[in-house]
Amino acid sequence: MGEVRLDRVCRVAGEAKLILYEEDGTVQDALFIATAPVRGFEKMVVGKNPLFAVEAVMRICGLCHASHGIAAVEAVEHAIGIAPPRNGLLMREALGLINRAQSHALQFLMMAGDLIREEKRNEVLFKLMDFHAKVSDYLLKLGGAATHPPNLTIGGMLRVPKWSVFNNLKARFPDLMKSWEELREVLLDEDVQTEVADELREARREMPYLASSFFYGDRYNIRTDAVETMPYYEFRKEEPARESTTLIAFYDGKKVEAGPRARMKTYREFRDSSLYGIHLARVLDTELAILRLGEILDEIDMNEAFRVKNITFGPGRGVGVYEAPRGTLIHYLELGEEGRVVSSRIVVPTMFNIPVMEEMAKGLSVKAAEAVMRLYDPCIPCTTHVVRMR
C-alpha cells in the first residue's frame, strides 16, 4: 500500500498534516493530524470573571468568533438563570448568522482551488472577497468589530447601534443580496467546475447527523451529556498520530457529522447525499442565513431593551449549544461561589467531523480525498483548545 504524505495541508484554517494510504490510486485510509499548539483556553478562564471568559473564548477562533461568544454567553446565562430580552436574542442571532456567512465565504475561497477550474478561479475569488467585505461590514456595525464582536456579551448587547445604523444596513441589504446571488451562480455553475467536483458528485455517502437547530442552537434538542471525547492519538494508534494536538468527539458513542449538511438534512428537505452535497448545503446555508438576517433587521424594535438589568454572577452550571458555521458547538461551564469560572469545557464541531472526514475519504482518488478534508472546513485553532471530558 502506498502512502501519500502532506506535511502541511494548504487552504485549511490552521496547521495540519494529512496521510493517505492508497492502493492503485484509491484511498484506503486517511489520517488527519492537526499539529497547532494547544493554547488552553478552558484552563485560561478558570478563576476569572465570566465577562473575561466570553472575551477570551471568542479568541479561540478568528473564523467562528461570534459562535464561540454566543455558546459561552448562553452557558453563563444558563448557569445564572437569566435570558436576554427579545431584542438581545434577535441581535445575537443576527451576529451569529453574519458570522456564518463570513465563515462560509472563507471556506468557499479555500475550496475554490479544488472545485473551480483555474481560468475561472480568480474571478470567483474576487467576488468572494467582495461579498466577505460586505457581510463583514454588517458585523462591524452591529457587533462593534468585523472579528471578535465586542457588543456580544452576557445578558444581551453591550452597546446598541443607533437607529440610523439599522436604517443604513436595511437600505444596503438588497445590495448584499445581489452580491450573494451573483456569487451563488458561480459557486454552483457545474460548467466551470473541476474533475474533483465531478468525483465528489458521484461519491454518495452519509453518516448519522448531529444538529440542534437551524439558525441558532438549542441545548434541549440534543443530549449534551451524550458527548464523549478522546485524544486523537488514542483513537488512531498509528505512529504519526502521536504528534496530534487535538481531541475528537463522538455523540452517543457514534461518529456523527455536524455542519451545514447535518442542519439541512435534519431541519430542511435536503436530498443530496453525495459529498458534493456538503458544498451545496453550505451554499444554501449561507443563503438562508442572509435571508434570516434581513428578517431580523426588520424585527428589531428600537424602543425595547437590548440587555437584561440586574446581572448577578453566582454559583451554577450551564450548557451553551450553538450551531456554528461548521456544526454544533457546545460550551459546558461551571461558576463558583463568587461567580467566577470553576471549570469550562468546550466541544467544537470539527472534533465530531475529523473521524467522519477520514471515513469519507476512503474509496476516493488522492486528489479528491484531500479536497474532502477542506470540504468539511476543519477549524484547527478550535479543535486544539479543548479539554478532555469524563
Binding site: R39, L109, G113, Y233
Partner: protein, 229 residues
C-alpha cells in the same frame, strides 16, 4: 510603483486564532498592485519562494514546542523584514493568560510574542488589526516613510502592553487629555471614558495593547524611548 517589481510577502501563522489571517485576506484586494502575497489560504502546496521581502507573522510562539521555534527562526532567515501582525505575535495578547495544563498537550504552557525568539522589524498590534492598518503600513513601507512607520518600529521592541499600562503611564501621571481614542480602539469594550478619563473594566482587558499604541500620549512615550520592554 510603475516599473517596479512587486514586493514578495509571505504570511505565516504559528499558532493564533486565524482572525489576523482574515484581516490580511481582507486587506489584500487593495494591496495587489504593489505586493504579491503568499498565504496558505490561497495556494497549493508549500511556500512559493525561498526568499521574501517581507514576512507577516501572526500568532504567538509556543515556547514548549521546539518545532514552532525552529519554524520561526527559519522565517527570519527567509525574509528581509519581519512584521509581527496582531497582538499575539506583537505583544502576546490573550496568550499572555495561557498557563497550560490542558489535554491533549498540558505541556504547552508558555506563549511569547515573536520578538522573544527572533528579531522583529515592525509590530502592528490589534485584535485583530483592521485591514486598513495593513494597507497603510504597506503604503508607508513602500514609500520608505520612516516617520510614519516609527511607532510600528519601536513597538517591535516591546514585549507587553495593556490597558493597565495605559492607566499607569497616561492617566495616573496626569498626561491624559481625554480624547477617547482608547475607548474607540479597544476591541473588547473594556475602556470607558468617565468624566473624560478612561476607566478600565479589568475583567475585559485581554492585554492586546491596542489602546496604548492608539493613545496620542502613550505612543509618544514609547516613541521617545520611554522604556517598555
Amino acid at each position: 510603483m510603475i516599473g517596479m517589481e512587486k514586493l514578495k510577502v509571505l504570511h505565516v501563522d504559528i499558532g493564533g486564532c486565524e482572525g489576523c489571517n482574515v484581516s490580511i485576506i481582507r486587506a489584500y484586494p487593495k494591496l495587489m498592485e504593489g505586493i504579491e502575497l503568499d498565504i496558505s489560504y490561497l495556494r497549493d502546496g508549500g511556500c512559493k519562494y525561498d526568499e521574501y521581502d517581507v514576512a507577516l507573522v501572526t500568532g504567538g510562539v509556543c515556547m514548549n514546542e521546539p518545532r514552532v521555534i525552529e519554524e520561526l527562526k527559519g522565517i527570519r532567515e527567509k525574509a528581509k523584514v519581519i512584521v509581527a501582525f496582531g497582538s499575539c505575535a506583537a505583544l502576546g495578547g490573550i496568550l499572555r493568560f495561557c498557563r497550560g495544563g490542558q489535554a491533549p498537550r498540558p505541556d504547552h504552557r508558555n506563549f511569547q510574542p515573536i520578538n522573544s525568539v527572533i528579531e522583529v522589524d515592525y509590530s502592528i498590534p490589534g485584535c485583530p488589526p483592521t485591514p486598513q492598518m495593513l494597507q497603510s503600513f504597506f503604503k508607508y513601507f513602500m514609500a520608505g516613510n520612516e516617520t510614519r512607520l516609527r511607532l510600528f518600529k519601536v513597538t517591535a521592541g516591546v514585549k507587553k502592553l495593556s490597558g493597565f499600562d495605559l492607566i499607569d503611564d497616561v492617566v495616573l501621571t496626569g498626561l491624559c487629555i481625554g480624547c477617547g481614542a482608547c475607548e474607540l480602539s479597544c476591541p473588547t469594550g473594556a475602556i470607558k471614558l468617565i468624566d473624560k478619563r478612561p476607566t478600565l473594566a479589568q475583567e475585559r482587558c485581554i492585554r492586546c495593547g491596542t489602546c496604548y499604541i492608539r493613545c496620542p500620549r502613550a505612543s509618544q512615550i514609547i516613541c521617545l524611548g520611554g522604556g517598555k520592554t
